[in-house]
């Protein structure tokens, strides 16, 4: 990890503080008020707000624009960028543009496949993969050059993130891939939502044993469940999600109106365990369309006030 | 109308089901003309033969094969079944009712055993000769 970028998230993580970020999805429309409202809910309880890039391949306001609105509010965004929709020319151009708007964190992703989205007839791009996007940002940042080697007038000093899914197959390969992402230049890693703590622990142990946690900040993904239906849906339908049966049972074991409460309880228990795990440097809260609960979770987890 | 509006049925049959077809099978007085096509094994019933039978004027085509598991050439009747299914869907696609083509498993015997089957097919397709088909809305929309 170099100290090249100027992000606050980076400062917090480098200082050894347990970081908290939260997710914010831009609207399917043009109204910046929606972003501001979500920003308002998250202000003061998270260190950075992670803005999705046409998540699940559904067309939304661009991640860059939504991030810029958050910057205007004094919040620090993490801009997600997927390689699904842009070729290397557009990716590099948008990285520079984003940095010029005050966006200092980037999360490099491949993106959900367009066939899952609202416009499955679209052509995908996948010119470069997320690994190469990480490397591209790193080269821009550290060498001040774009992919062609051209020397840029000023370089984007971005704090670079990448994703990892400890619950996908083949399990053994997941650590090799993590190591590759770190080599490529990832400063922080955001994981898939953690429900299966045993498997996550196993993965973290492998990361620690390989010395990877010395080189990268791992933020564990956490999503509070609202209902038993949601738990079942994620277990069955969402690719790369691992929701153990006992949690589904727990969600289903309480009265329907009590389910959100139970979900929050599970969430807090998970966070408590994650904080104890070696190598976990923070959490990333994905309370999708349930942003109002983030403050409660952060406070409940004893992570307030934020630095 | 052709043949005094007789309904024509072509029967493809494996010679292991029965060796000779009897065209008097259809009860006397019925307005039906039967035609038999002998096959050494039902797997030889190619899709194009089935279609050509319709082209030649058949109102219905029946394929008679040995019971599953009893094919002399192991899987000939299974192949025939798959092919019949495929041609049925093709017939549906082109607006000729796929039900005009059917396959039945029949234990070895003589052709009189096929009588109830032919009756059943006739009952299903009705007794409208193909020549009148073009005046009707395509099957499936009817």
């Amino acid at each position: 990890m170099t100290m090249e970028s100027t992000s606050r998230l980076q400062k917090i993580l480098s200082s050894g503080e347990f970081a908290v970020t939260a997710e914010c999805g831009p609207p399917r429309g043009v109204d910046p008020e929606i972003i501001r409202k979500k920003g308002e809910l998250l202000k003061g309880c998270v260190d950075a707000v992670n803005v999705t890039d046409n998540q699940t391949a559904i067309v939304r306001m661009s991640s860059i624009a939504a991030c810029a609105h958050l910057v205007d509010m004094g919040l620090e965004p993490v801009m997600q960028m997927v390689t699904r929709d842009r070729n290397r020319i557009a990716l590099q151009s948008d990285i520079m543009g984003a940095y010029s708007l005050g966006i200092k964190n980037i999360l490099c992703l491949t993106g959900d496949h367009q066939t899952f989205g609202s416009q499955p007839d679209a052509l995908n791009v996948f010119d470069i993969d997320s690994m190469n996007l990480v490397r591209t940002v790193k080269t821009m940042r550290e060498e001040g050059r774009d992919m062609s080697g051209f020397e840029l007038k000023g370089s984007p000093k971005m704090f670079i993130g990448a994703a990892a899914n400890p619950f996908a197959d083949p399990f053994e390969y997941r650590i090799i891939r993590l190591a590759k992402k770190i080599d490529a230049g990832a400063d922080f890693i955001q994981t898939q939502c953690v429900y299966n703590l045993d498997r996550f622990k196993q993965w973290m142990k492998m990361a620690v044993d390989e010395g990877l946690t010395e080189k990268v900040h791992i933020l564990a993904g956490v999503t509070p469940m609202k209902s038993a239906g949601m738990a079942r849906y994620m277990a069955k339908r969402v690719a790369g999600m691992d929701v153990p049966e006992n949690l589904i049972q727990r969600m289903g074991g309480v009265a329907k109106e009590k389910a959100p409460e139970e979900g929050l309880k599970i969430c807090l228990e998970t966070i408590a365990e994650l904080r104890e795990m070696e190598g976990v440097h923070g959490i990333h809260l994905m309370a999708i369309e349930w942003e109002e609960v983030v403050g409660e979770i952060v406070a409940g987890a004893g992570l307030m006030p934020r630095p | 109308m052709r043949n005094g509006s007789k309904v024509k049925v072509t029967v493809f049959h494996c010679i292991n089901v029965f060796s000779e077809g009897d065209s008097r099978l259809a009860a006397k007085g019925e307005n039906v003309e039967l035609k038999f096509v002998r096959l050494p094994c039902s797997s030889l019933v190619k899709d194009v033969f089935l279609l050509r039978a319709f082209e030649a004027g058949a109102d219905a085509v029946v394929v008679l094969v040995c019971p599953e598991g009893a094919c002399r050439y192991v899987e000939g009747n299974l192949r025939a079944k798959k092919r019949v299914q495929w041609v049925r869907s093709l017939l549906d696609e082109i607006g000729m009712d796929g039900n005009r083509l059917a396959l039945f498993n029949l234990p070895p015997g003589d052709s009189s055993d096929a009588k109830p089957i032919i009756q059943k097919v006739l009952a299903q397709i009705g007794t409208t000769p193909q020549a009148e088909l073009s005046d009707r809305p395509p099957a499936g929309q009817a």
């Binding site: 083949p170 090799i176 080599d183 790369g240 | 005046d135």
Partner: protein, 222 residues
């Protein structure tokens, strides 16, 4: 081989509707092997079209012919007399075959009767799978003989995405995850190092991205 699939009859009917005399022209190479446009399929198509038009109370005259390879001028020449007798050609060859015909027969309408889908193999009876996208810069050696440009839905070069589960691709439960296969194979080959190696972005210039490609063999020109 090139794998193709016959178009639905409704679409074919619409394509041939303006013509009274149509030559159905098959190809005896790839499309024959994948049951889309060989001699047998030409016969079925001819019969089906005649029946379809009869149902509609219309008439059509179809002629059948199958040449060895429709993508080679040498072989398509022999269809000239049949083409002269007909108003249009319904070609059951791949897109290259249809276009080779268009090159030679300048005033004959050419109708594609199949959808040309991919370069692939017969994986098992009845199942064809896509294996290569003709990228012009083959890197199979690095990936243990399994092509991620073609067989990974996201064209990933540095390992599987987070959706790979139980060996299947997140995009379709029926499709193997290419990366799962690559890892299995490289492990079996004892080439684990390839898995750790960083693979740089692909140079797409050799692919269709740089426009239609041509291959010139000087040594074959007199």
């Amino acid at each position: 081989m090139i794998v193709a699939e016959q178009k639905p009859m409704a679409e074919i009917k619409e394509l041939v509707a303006p013509y009274k005399k149509v030559l159905i022209l098959g190809c005896g190479t790839c499309v024959k092997t994948c049951f889309a446009g060989g001699e047998d399929e030409v016969a079925v198509m001819a019969s089906a079209l005649r029946l379809a038009f009869k149902v509609d109370g219309k008439e059509i005259h179809v002629e059948e012919q199958t040449v060895e390879r429709q993508c080679e001028d040498e072989f398509i020449q022999e269809s000239a007399p049949a083409i002269a007798r007909n108003e249009a050609v319904l070609s059951l060859a791949c897109g290259a075959g249809v276009q080779a015909m268009a090159r030679r027969f300048k005033s004959t309408p050419l109708l594609p009767g199949v959808n040309t889908t991919f370069i692939g193999v017969l994986e098992k009876p009845g199942l064809f799978t896509e294996e290569c996208s003709g990228c012009g810069d083959c890197k199979l050696a690095v990936f243990g003989g399994i092509c991620p440009f073609t067989r990974c839905a996201k064209k990933l070069l540095n390992g599987p995405c987070g959706g790979s589960q139980n060996g299947k691709c997140e995009v379709s439960a029926e499709t193997d995850c290419a990366w799962h296969l690559i890892i299995e194979r490289l492990t079996a080959l004892g080439q684990m190092d390839n898995l750790r190696t960083y693979i740089p972005p692909k140079n797409w210039r050799a692919s269709l991205a740089a426009g239609p490609r041509r291959l010139f063999r000087e040594d074959h020109v007199i």
